[in-house]
Symmetry: C2
Subunit: 475 residues, 2 copies
């Protein structure tokens, strides 16, 4: 293993070799500008920050491979950067080195309308992709809310509001191009809907947070735009009634497209921020139904019955596409609505998930935790998957941040005790490292570490993320 032995030259020397080589090879694609580096020193979790030595703006898989070859030879870390929307510190170059920005890699390489698939460069955002697809009658449904890149969504195994119907990135990525630690390029998966040939490298890379390879191209499943989309809102006097309605929708197998919960705190903020004056500050479910007209009518009828049995108030319908967009925009602006209610405060978003039968118990427990903390916090989320977020507002100080993390720890502990996961969709990054061993057990983590050590023995790919240190499986 001599090639993986610790390098003999000091880090700063190796780094300056890397910078010289990259500047010679890539010219203006390399920036050491302080404000560019600062913009790449963190994602939306700005509390987790560290400056890169330089930012390289890649425009092709070959660029990414070139950067990795140089960094690999010199044992210098590389952290991929897309839209910077991570909330768990994924894009922060904890050990310095190179921030590899893929946001200029926005080409749609192929659209196969007849096969409902497409191939894109990793830096395109889902909004840009869907805008370009509009004339095809197809769309890419995974919708985490923010303006994320497809590559970043792959790396964190993202999901969002429509996952209850269309699945997450795990179910919607057919194949990848990825650059491995040493600069080699691999193709995984392909264009077929299913295959039984070989280890599922696509699924291994999806969710690997840039620690096993850097994703440069993605083959995506597309879906036909539904013939009809209907959206409605139903308010409830109690949180239990709203959660139970969502739970029963899933248990009955109603193929609903979205079912989102906003608690009274969140709804009050949204009413103010998005001018939803027709609603009350009560726990609210946002629904979307889609498909062929008769099927949609049937879904709606079944859902209304369940809501009524759970004491739901009358359904408010979004009759037009504009009305629908206004409602869903209000939902997606939930974070900013909380921000507006808490000027000058910092916000921390939690993310946990449990089997749906445990959701009522968990949310009730979280409300107790919030009350005990004395903090302002809302609850909202993708309750059809058993997944929700708490948005916690605290003073914008290190102490305030620690207060928010303390509340998050209580929430995660409750979720894990109810057979849950510490992240439904945000990923591990730095923020969730401490929970991984409890969630997966030491044996599975030791296997994960063996995979990391094999594919990136020099530990140059996003070091310090996803895996807490510990024993490594040896077969």
């Amino acid at each position: 293993m001599t090639s993986d032995a610790q390098p003999t030259l000091p880090f700063e020397t190796r780094l300056s070799v890397v910078l010289s080589l990259l500047q010679a090879q890539m010219g203006a694609k390399v920036s050491t500008n302080a404000s560019v580096c600062e913009a790449h020193s963190h994602g939306e979790a700005y509390q987790i920050a560290h400056m890169p030595a330089a930012v390289v703006f890649a425009q092709s898989t070959a660029d990414v491979a070139a950067v990795l070859k140089v960094c690999h030879a010199n044992h210098v870390p590389v952290v991929a950067f897309g839209a910077g929307t991570s909330v768990e510190g994924h894009v922060t170059p904890l050990e310095g080195g190179i921030s590899l920005d893929l946001s200029r890699m926005t080409d749609v390489l192929a659209v196969n309308a007849a096969d409902l698939d497409c191939r894109v460069q990793a830096g395109i955002t889902r909004q840009s992709l869907n805008a370009l697809l509009r004339d095809t009658g197809l769309f890419f449904p995974v919708d985490p809310g923010g303006e994320a890149t497809i590559g970043g969504m792959c790396a964190t195994r993202a999901s969002g509001t429509a996952a209850v119907h269309y699945g997450t990135m795990k179910e919607n990525v057919l194949g990848l191009t990825a650059v491995m630690a040493n600069g080699e390029v691999i193709q995984t998966g392909g264009r077929v809907r299913k295959s039984s040939t070989g280890y599922d490298l696509t699924s291994l890379l999806v969710g690997s947070e840039g620690t096993l390879g850097i994703i440069t191209e993605v083959q995506l499943r597309l879906h036909g735009l539904p013939e009809q989309i209907s959206a409605a809102v139903c308010q409830f006097e109690t949180l239990d009634d709203a959660v139970n309605t969502a739970v029963e929708i899933i248990q009955m197998g109603i193929p609903i497209t979205r079912v989102e919960l906003l608690d009274a705190v969140q709804m009050q903020a949204c009413i103010a921020f998005s001018n939803l004056t027709e609603f009350k500050p009560l726990t609210t479910l946002f629904f979307e139904f889609s498909g062929a007209p008769e099927a949609v009518r049937e879904q709606i009828s079944l859902t209304q019955s369940l809501a009524t049995e759970n004491n739901g108030l009358a359904f408010a319908w979004a009759e037009t596409a504009d009305e629908r967009n206004r409602l869903w925009k209000a939902r997606h602006n939930a974070f900013w609505a909380i921000k507006a209610q808490n000027p000058g405060k910092q916000l921390v978003s939690t993310d946990c998930i449990v089997p749906i039968s445990q959701l009522t118990e968990l949310i009730n427990g979280v409300r107790q935790d919030i009350a005990a903390s004395g903090l302002y916090a809302s609850i909202l989320g993708h309750v059809g998957d058993g997944n929700f977020h708490t948005i916690i507002a605290t003073e914008d100080t290190p102490e305030g941040y620690q207060q928010a993390l303390a509340l998050d720890r209580k929430i995660v502990a409750r979720a894990l005790s109810l057979h849950g996961s510490c992240s439904g969709e945000h990923g591990v990054g730095v923020g969730k490292l401490e929970f991984l061993e409890t969630e997966h057990g030491p044996e599975a983590l030791s296997v994960m570490r063996a995979l990391k050590a094999t594919l990136d023995p020099r530990n140059i790919l996003n070091p310090g993320k996803l895996l807490p240190s510990g024993p490594i499986y040896h077969g």
Copy 2:
């Protein structure tokens, strides 16, 4: 790496150590009976056969771990065995050693009806599981036709007739218990619908064919029994019309439950074998629609329109559950129908898949290949996924087998040239090894080999399967 160095004692000596230790530890669970060993020397592809030294009938994860610990210490191969329904040689102990039979591990460990999931031991068959689930209103939908075990279905990433609607094992396995090469037990995944925490070890093990670990327990997604199920058959004068109908159903996004094609050769055999005297020996589509009544009605209406536009004859409806079961039993007995038409011959089933837009071209090419071969062969399959099989009948001699393989090679070459895969659902085993490099490229294979070398450095887990030998990625 001293522990992985080649062992110094000869294989026969190490094997007798293993047998002594296992007999001492496990008593009557160990069999060296010749007929028991013979029954574990091959799966349904009896042409690929090799005797194990002994068969161990495991009854628990602890039993599996005990076997692996002993075999690991002595560098003796272990091949997992379930129902023996593999058609690609997966269960054949190519290098001898232990056949580890899991078919006594049939417990259902938990059914969580409210969460639509269950946990089972790996040796239960899907039929037994569904029989036990009957009173819950839930079922496990992945249906490869044969009486396969859930563990074997995981190991080969199986799918079958209902995958077009419910997905394959990849989409329906939430988590696993697996025993690694050295006997350590890991838990992967969990009970939640989605998670963004850590490498997806579940997906890595699903489809790994017993080469990375032995799956002993499986957490499965369940689905509600549909309120209504309707089945119908439509016959076509030409193969093109039938294939185009299936392709358009998928392209229109009709959420059909099953859509199976049987060509005229296959239909003729099924009519004779299953007494389907109401049908003609024409290319035929078998449909199943399910869901809420209005949604089913709408699916049927749309499908009938497409079939009519493609010159389909009148739909024949299976009005009762008995009628439906008769039709689908005839479909699932397709192999035996071909066998009955070809007494004394050997049958070889191929398995390829392409993007659905390429399906008509591929099937037409395969018909030419069949005609040129002069062999009797039918075409049938899961055309909604772009996946189909050719059942080839040849003389039951080594030469006949080679004739069938020669035709299969032509079919696979066509599929790969149309962006396809050499196996939609049967897996690689031994039979598809030669195609892996063309399909995945040398770079991805070198990464797969690195994973294998890391997790099973002594190469005791199902050696000789899934991965052709070649260079190993080194990061």
